[in-house]
Amino acid sequence: MSLHKVVANAEEAIKGIQSGQTLLLGGFGLCGIPENCIAALVKKGVDQLTCISNNAGVDDFGIGLLLQTKQVKKMIASYVGENDEFERQLLSGELEVELIPQGTLATRCMAAGYGMPAIYTPAGVGTEVADGKEVRNFNGKDYLLEYAFDADYAIVKAWKGDTKGNLIFKDTARNFNPLMAMAGKITIAEVEHLVEAGSLDPNDIHTPGIYVNYIFQGEAYEKRIEKRTVRN
């Protein structure tokens, strides 16, 4: 793993990504998504992608942009509402979809990042999620065997990062980002603020830079709010 991680922009960070590869994409809804890299993937035009992300964006933002351009072959997610194009492609059979429990999604990332091949979880026991999976009983309760993700790239978004690739996430924009950062064979981090190594307090860092291959400061963050809700 190289110590030299800083690249100029999203185009440079994603230049190794090829059609047919598997990508982990951080974020929950539109919160904490790698906006710059998604835009760069649309521009690059790689297709037949397998995207693993909690959600599939909305029609005109997030992973929804990659669906509009039909760059996604398969989507692995836990919740995919709020996206008409996604639903159309799913019902017409154009898009392959695997829906998995949210905690299972998180833990399969965690396992990959911790170098473990699989985990056992009770989520989905007795449901169609369990079809074809090994069930094992521990202390009187059934659990499903779920494998660690094997993804070519992880693409995450952090609030702050330094030139050594250390990352800090903000509020609930943390979500899947630190887990996916650990889980990719190659990890790309886009950050709102890129600072020199040494200017972040080591106590505050969520993701050690050893997990990050490429880092850049993103630009023009829209940070769209999906469901703006205020007090009466």
């Binding site: 429990p101 905690g103 999620v129 899947f176 630190p178 887990l179 469901k227 205020v230």
Partner: protein, 218 residues
């Protein structure tokens, strides 16, 4: 009269105990936060990575980085903490959350729940619901008793793909409160103005009426 969504939420809030960590699902369960009884302190867990969820922000103070599991903008409270999604489901799986309140499309009289998929019609996904129902110690379902066509949603067995087996302990519907036991649904409270005959007519699963049934206080 059948209860409003707010009244269902108000009744569920009576189940809260001082010191509880609580996960509230999307829809009616979210409204429970508006009716936390006086003198009781609970902490709300949002599975996207927050303990100590506060109310919606005042206009102008919305923050795109601070949302709940329903993707609504929210706030934090003194003592709030953020964490990643694996830790969030870790605390759920490890049984640290005292009470989970969920919506449902169907519940069976053995506690099976279906709330994530209508084949051929609606495919939104299970989100965190399968993890929650597989591990939560205490699950209360907030739901309408019947669908729009008047068919019972409290069934002998679920017709939709299930989210979890034999996990629901209690239902608060617009008609009453039901414990789920080895003997099916036990109606322990009825909504004001709703008769036992109406509850019986609108419940498809095995139902018995508790001998000391009360009127709901909502």
């Amino acid at each position: 009269m059948a209860l409003t969504k707010e009244q269902i939420a108000k009744r569920i809030a009576q189940e809260l105990q001082d010191g509880f960590y609580v996960n509230l699902g999307i829809g009616i369960p979210t409204l429970v936060a508006n009716y936390i009884p006086e003198g009781i302190e609970v902490e709300l867990q949002s599975e996207n990575g927050l303990l100590g969820m506060g109310p919606f922000p005042i206009a102008g103070e919305e923050d795109a980085d601070l949302i709940n599991a329903g993707k609504q903008t929210i706030t934090t409270l003194a003592g709030s903490v953020f964490f990643d999604s694996a830790m969030s489901f870790g605390m759920i799986r490890a049984g640290k959350v005292d009470l989970t309140v969920l919506g449902a499309m169907e519940v069976a009289d053995n506690g099976d729940i279906a709330n994530w998929k209508v084949p051929g019609k609606m495919v939104k996904g299970m989100g965190g619901a399968m993890d929650l129902v597989a591990s939560a110690k205490n699950i209360i379902v907030a739901m309408q008793h019947t669908d729009k066509a008047g068919n019972s949603k409290l069934l002998k067995s679920c017709s939709l793909p299930i989210t979890g087996r034999a996990c629901v302990k209690k239902i608060v519907s617009d008609l009453g409160v039901f414990d789920i036991t080895e003997n099916g649904f036990i109606c322990i409270e009825h909504a004001p103005g709703v008769s036992i005959e109406e509850i019986k007519a609108k419940t498809a699963g095995q139902l018995s009426i508790h001998p000391s049934i009360k009127e709901m206080n909502v």
